[in-house]
């Protein structure tokens, strides 16, 4: 698939993986936020490849994230939809794409985004996780009813 889109660069930038997940068609520039939203840091064990601003026939430019030896759960996949609704997920087993799916915007997200309202009870030491209902207008805090209409990524915990 990648060879068709940009055969010269792809081979160098993102090698094929034996097992794991390839997140493709991420909006250009959002790959690091996808990694952040998946909770992957330098201290976690995944082998990770990131390609940004890769030429794409469909999107002009796109980002790609490859995760070796980890298959993302549906909940994890759907988190990606918050920042890149056109992303596609390929589950790889023994170098083959075994499963290919789009992302679906979840109805509710918990513990992923911080409420930007400083007066919200979810920003205190209470034993709760932040919780947002996903609406067409944005993320709706179920505690203080504040709506995050844009720039969701800057509020990712």
């Amino acid at each position: 698939m990648k060879k068709q889109e940009n055969p010269e660069n792809e081979g160098l930038l993102v090698r094929r993986i034996q097992n794991g997940t390839v997140i493709d068609h991420i909006a250009a520039g959002e790959a690091l936020n996808v990694v952040k939203i998946l909770g992957i840091t330098g201290t976690t064990t995944e082998s990770l490849s990131i390609a940004t601003n890769v030429l794409s026939g469909q999107m002009g430019k796109k980002d790609i994230v490859k995760l070796s030896n980890r298959e993302l759960s549906k909940e994890e996949v759907d988190r990606i939809a918050l920042i890149s609704p056109r992303a596609t997920i390929n589950i790889i087993r023994d170098y083959k794409v075994c499963e290919k799916k789009g992302v679906e915007i979840p109805d509710m997200i918990e513990g992923l985004v911080r409420c930007p309202n400083p007066g919200c009870i979810s920003n205190t030491n209470e034993p709760i996780r932040s919780r947002f209902i996903v609406t067409p207008k944005g993320l709706h805090c179920t505690y203080c009813e504040w709506v995050i209409a844009r720039d969701i990524t800057s509020n990712i915990i």
Binding site: N117, G119, C120, I121, S122, T124, N125, E126, P127, I128, C141, T142, Y143, C144, E145, W146, V147, A149
Partner: protein
């Protein structure tokens, strides 16, 4: 109207936000309040029931009227009246306080400085929770008694309502506007620069089909409106006393202004008022703010009956 949570097999019912209500639920509650107002209620309906009033912010009217409401229904109340007086001062979370108080009382009324605190309380309580104001957030019992007071003078449908004062931070004005959108009211807003209705709320109300018109002065619209809802403009919103007095004087409701009003038009204020309404207005038939305050008891009695019974 209710957020239902199941803890220990018991379904608990809470009143947290006016946004949780639909029109039918509001009408039913106001009907019940009317029956109570006409003395058609069992004054032992909540005999031996205990209401915990947790006020982590100052309040006079709301707290006293809830305590009067439970007393009139045969129950009693226990209270915490400041953060300093309770274990939250020792670092206890609100969640733990609520779990503990749930073991002492049959319902909890809470006012808290943090927005969403009542929603959190409902999450951890095993008894019904009523929100009595959470920061700049919701105050549903105030909205219900505002609607009740309007309904004593006119039908709620398609009325013209002027909201005056601090519409940016005034939670009572926000909740009332939201509730009135269910009744196809037309809204007229009059507020100082910088204290206008928040854009998000304006958009939300417009999307609900509400017609909203901004005016520079109440005089522009006094002949059209059925309800004049006045809110307090807080002094701390202004850099100095002179600019505060300059602004507040131009939003003041006076008998002279009301000579141009409809005969049945009413003036409401969630109280306490400072300079927003000339005391001479108190004597006019338009003045309903003390009646509005008194209505807090039957409306809150109806709320308590609905969640505890």
């Amino acid at each position: 109207m209710y957020k239902r949570g199941i803890r220990g097999g018991v379904v608990t019912r809470h009143i947290i936000s006016i946004g949780d209500f639909d029109r039918r639920q509001i009408d039913r509650l106001l009907d019940n309040a009317k029956r109570i107002d006409a003395q058609k209620y069992d004054n032992n309906a909540l005999y031996r029931k205990i209401l915990a009033t947790l006020f982590f912010e100052p309040s006079t009217r709301t707290r006293m009227s809830f305590e009067a409401a439970i007393a009139r229904l045969g129950g009693t109340s226990i209270s915490v009246d400041s953060v300093e007086a309770c274990s939250i001062a020792k670092g206890e979370t609100l969640a733990d306080t609520i779990r503990v108080v749930s073991g002492y009382a049959d319902a909890i009324v809470i006012r808290h400085p943090k927005e969403g605190a009542a929603r959190l309380a409902a999450q951890f309580a095993s008894v019904p929770v009523i929100n009595a104001g959470d920061g700049a957030g919701q105050h549903p019992s105030q909205t219900l008694l505002d609607l009740y007071t309007i309904r004593q003078s006119m039908k709620l449908d398609e009325i013209n309502v002027a909201l005056i004062g601090d519409l940016r931070y005034g939670r009572t004005a926000h909740s009332l506007a939201l509730a009135l959108s269910l009744y196809h009211a037309r809204l007229h807003t009059i507020s100082p620069k910088g204290l206008e209705l928040p854009t998000s709320l304006h958009t939300d109300l417009s999307e609900r089909g509400m017609e909203i018109t901004e005016h520079d002065t109440i005089g522009d619209v006094i002949k059209e409106v059925d309800v004049i809802y006045v809110t307090r403009i807080q002094r701390e919103r202004f850099p100095d006393s002179a600019s505060y007095f300059n602004v507040t004087s131009s939003y003041r409701i006076t008998p002279e202004l009301l000579t141009g009003a409809k005969k049945h038009a009413i003036v409401l204020h969630p109280l306490p008022r400072v300079d927003e309404i000339d005391p001479r207005v108190d004597l006019l038939p338009h003045a309903k703010y003390f009646e509005q305050s008194r209505n807090g008891v039957p409306v809150r009695m109806a709320m308590l009956l609905q969640v505890i019974q």
